[in-house]
Each structure stands twice: as structure tokens, then as C-alpha cells.
């Protein structure tokens, strides 16, 4: 059972709410709420199937770059534990939930690495460049995954 896909369903909901329901709702708070909901449905219709690959790619990039950053400052990595037991709210697929938990842990590790670097007296241009480029790649990836434009 593949059709209609979740994207088709979301697009259909967005279309029918826009064409059939919105014109019948009087101006006011309810209409503003409905407009906002239609907007979110449109975003979801564009991006619902991008999330798994986005998170997996981001995790790989974070793993590789964190290892590189540790090497550059001559320190051992100090990975944060990923909570893969309690699950992730709104995610029912186990492998996606694990990837999201891992991403949350990697983000925390990166923040700790940044904090430790900030506390150092010296600067390391190569470290700073690698960190900046990581943020650029993650930002570009997130733009694509959320359907936002810069």
C-alpha cells in the first residue's frame, strides 16, 4: 500500500482546505489559525520524506568533523551518550528515532568542543576554519531539509 503517499495526502489536505474550507471561514482568529495550519501542511508536503537522509548525513558529517577537530587540538573525543531507549516524540520509525537521538547527542558534543575551545588562550586557524565550514555545511543541509530559503 504505497498510494496515496503521505506527500499526496498532505498536498491534498492543503489544497482542499485552501480551496473549499478557507473561503467559508469568516475573518478573524479562526481564519488566521487555519491559514497558519495550511502553511505548515504545505511545508510538510515538500519535506516529509527528506528527514531520514538529512539526519543520517548530518550525523556522518558531525562524526567525521568532531574526530578531525579532536585531532587538531590533540584531545580525546568525549562523546555524549545518545538516548535510544525512551524514543523520540513524533517519530515512530526505530532507525529514524535512533538517528535523531544520535544527532541530539552529537550536537551537544559539538557545543562542548566549542566551549572548551573558547576557554583556551591560543587560537588555531585550521580548527576555526574546520568548525566554520561544518556550520556552513550543516546550515545548507538544514535549509534543504526544511524547505526554507535563505
Amino acid at each position: 500500500m504505497l498510494r496515496p503517499t503521505p506527500g499526496e495526502l498532505l498536498e491534498g489536505l492543503q489544497r482542499e482546505l485552501t480551496d473549499s474550507v478557507l473561503p467559508e471561514v469568516p475573518a478573524g482568529a479562526a481564519k488566521r489559525q487555519l491559514r497558519a495550519a495550511i502553511h505548515v501542511l504545505g511545508k510538510l508536503a515538500q519535506t516529509w520524506d527528506l528527514q531520514h537522509k538529512y539526519v543520517e548525513t548530518d550525523n556522518l558529517d558531525l562524526e567525521v568533523t568532531l574526530a578531525n577537530l579532536s585531532r587538531l587540538v590533540g584531545a580525546e573525543r568525549n562523546p555524549m551518550p545518545a538516548d535510544t531507549e525512551t524514543g523520540v516524540v513524533g517519530v515512530s520509525d526505530r532507525s529514524l528515532a535512533d538517528a535523531v537521538s544520535r544527532n541530539i547527542a552529537l550536537q551537544r558534543e559539538l557545543e562542548q568542543v566549542q566551549r572548551q575551545y573558547q576557554e583556551r588562550a591560543s587560537t588555531d586557524r585550521e580548527f576555526e576554519r574546520a568548525l566554520f565550514e561544518l556550520h556552513r555545511r550543516r546550515s545548507t543541509r538544514a535549509l534543504a531539509a526544511t524547505g526554507e530559503s535563505p
Binding site: 488566521r32 573558547q118 556550520h135 550543516r138 526554507e148
Partner: protein, 340 residues
């Protein structure tokens, strides 16, 4: 009573509370009367009502004839779950007296920052003429939009000139960082990195003025090509005047289609505005993206924790992504002109 409950109040009851506000604020006034307030759009963060009030001031009483005042007023009540964390007393103090100093700001007639009368911090302002509509402003014909944006630069210069002082307040960055750390739903190390960058590169010698804090085409009243009033002062604070220009030129609401930012700064300088350096402007462009990202995260959290039911805020966390992308672009521009 909450600010939300105020919506259900009968107009006469609401008018009675406005009268009480005025009575407390103007102890020497008598014969105060207030028309039934009607609801007007006040944005995401406030509910708003318009009404008219009349009173007789005490000055004329000794002569046997009181001086009658007729004022158009707007009542603003802060909504629960606001994405902006600010002290109403600070806002009202910032706004108080500006109109009398030639700034295009509404006069404050009364305030209830404790929320006793309406369940949320409330302020009663002079209702200025003109229109406020960001979409209409940004879609105006080029000649009107250009003239109006030139006047926007002059109105901003007037505010900054009237409020220039020697004191500095560098607490904004730390304050926004604290809000970010409280509001975020995940670590977002790229935003932390931007806060670190801003702390390292903060300009040390800049003039201090009152900063409007939310200065943009959607927060002004205009009449044709003239700016009549600056609205929504809840993020006002002391700081660098460059912040207001950087905020006005955020891509979401920028008037750059009419006037490029460099020309805006030139008109602002011609009107007597304090010197804005390229460094200060670039730093503030990064800062404004981080500030917007933090406001977005507060908005998203207010829905996720149930303090707001506004669906316009439900996916606001997504807007952090383009803000970070833009801020990284400004950082790169900074690196291009000077060493890290």
C-alpha cells in the same frame, strides 16, 4: 483574569477599566469619559482596542472653566506566551516623554504594567493617524516606497539624536544568549558558535542611544510618503544605533527594494544620525539574525509547552535555519575584510 479573558469583557466594562487607568494616571483630571473600545489588530504579542476619551484638566478649574481634552487612544495588552521577553516597565520608561522630545512616537497616557486591570501588562497610548501595513508598505510603487523609506531613515535619526548618551549597555548579547539557552529545543551548536563570535568581535567604541529594538516597515504608521509614528516599543533598550538599521534590513521585511542599505545610512547621517561604521553594521547584522532566531525559538517553545495556541508560531523553529545561514554569510563577509 488573564489577558485572554479580556477579549470576553463587555465593551462598557472595558471602557470602565480604561477610565480607571486614566483616573490613576491623571489625578487632577475630572469628568473623564471613554467611548466603548473596539478591537483592532495588535500583532502576535498583544491584543489591542481603540477608543476615544475626554476629560477636563485641573488647570482651568481655578478660572472656573476646565480645559477639555479629546484624545483618540489605543489600549495595548500583552498576550500570554509572547515570544518576546521584556519588562513592560522598561518599555514604558523608554517610550515616556519621547513624543515631547520630537520623536515620532505616541504619547503614553496611562499604564498598568502589573496587569491588575486587564490580566496582562497594559498601556494606553495616543492613537496616531496613518496606516500600518507591512505588506502594503513593501509593495508600494517605487517612488512612494523610496520617499517613505528616506523618511524612515530620518525618523530613526531623530530618535537616536534625541536619546544619545554617554552610558553604554552591553548586556543585550548576554541577555539574548540566556534566552536562547532557555528556549532551544535542541543544542543548536551553530547558534552558540554565533554567540561566541559576537562576543569576541563586539565593537568596543560605539555611541549609545535608545534602540527601538523592533524597527521595521511593519512597525510604523505612515501617511503617503511620510512616516507618522514608530510603534511597538517592547524591545526598546540602550545600545548601538546600528542595531535598528540592521534589524530594518533583515531580508524578511527589508525595504532594500526601494533604498539600498548604504543609501539608507547616508540619508540617516544627513539627518544628523550618529556615525554608523561598516564594522558596527556588519556585527549588528549577525546579531540581528541571532536575535531573530532566539525569538523564533521562544515562539516555538511557547506552543510546545502550551502557553500559546497560536498556529503561526508552531513551526517558527524552522525559521532559525535561514537566520543561521544568513548570519554565517555576514561572518564570512567580515572575515573577507579583516583577519579573524
Amino acid at each position: 483574569m488573564t489577558a485572554h479573558d479580556t477579549v470576553a469583557l463587555a465593551p462598557r466594562d472595558l471602557a470602565g477599566r480604561v477610565e480607571e487607568m486614566l483616573r490613576r494616571s491623571l489625578p487632577n483630571a475630572h469628568d473623564i469619559s471613554v467611548s466603548d473600545p473596539h478591537r483592532v489588530f495588535g500583532g502576535n504579542a498583544r491584543t489591542a482596542w481603540a477608543c476615544d476619551a475626554s476629560w477636563t484638566s485641573a488647570e482651568g478649574r481655578s478660572k472656573g472653566v476646565g480645559e477639555r481634552h479629546d484624545e483618540s487612544l489605543i489600549l495595548l495588552i500583552r498576550a500570554t506566551g509572547s515570544q518576546v521577553q521584556s519588562d513592560p516597565d522598561d518599555e514604558f520608561a523608554a517610550l515616556d516623554g519621547l513624543a515631547q522630545r520630537g520623536v515620532r512616537a505616541p504619547r503614553i497616557w496611562a499604564q498598568d504594567s502589573g496587569g491588575r486591570l486587564f490580566g496582562g501588562a497594559a498601556v494606553l497610548l495616543q492613537r496616531l493617524p496613518g496606516r500600518t501595513d507591512a505588506v502594503e508598505y513593501l509593495h508600494a510603487d517605487l517612488a512612494t516606497g523610496r520617499a517613505r523609506t528616506h523618511d524612515l531613515a530620518r525618523a530613526l535619526a531623530e530618535l537616536h539624536v534625541a536619546t544619545t548618551a554617554a552610558d553604554r549597555d552591553d548586556s543585550q548579547l548576554a541577555g539574548w544568549r540566556q534566552q536562547f539557552e532557555q528556549a532551544r529545543l535542541e543544542a543548536l551548536p551553530e547558534v552558540s558558535w554565533l554567540f561566541d563570535w559576537l562576543a569576541r568581535k563586539q565593537p568596543t567604541h560605539t555611541v549609545s542611544t535608545l534602540v527601538h529594538g523592533d524597527f521595521r516597515p511593519g512597525n510604523v504608521l505612515y501617511d503617503g510618503d511620510r512616516i507618522v509614528g514608530l510603534l511597538d516599543w517592547e524591545m526598546a533598550h540602550r545600545g548601538s544605533p546600528a542595531e535598528d538599521i540592521a534589524w530594518a534590513y533583515r531580508s524578511l521585511w527589508s525595504p532594500a527594494r526601494f533604498v539600498p542599505i548604504e543609501e539608507f545610512v547616508a540619508v540617516y547621517h544627513d539627518a544628523g544620525g550618529p556615525t554608523i561604521t561598516g564594522d558596527a553594521l556588519l556585527w549588528n547584522r549577525v546579531f540581528c539574525e541571532v536575535k531573530f532566531a532566539t525569538i523564533s525559538l521562544r515562539a516555538a517553545r511557547s506552543v510546545s509547552d502550551g502557553t500559546s495556541h497560536n498556529l503561526r508560531l508552531i513551526d517558527r523553529a524552522r525559521t532559525v535555519v535561514p537566520s543561521v545561514a544568513k548570519a554565517l554569510t555576514w561572518v564570512d563577509a567580515w572575515r573577507a575584510v579583516q583577519p579573524c
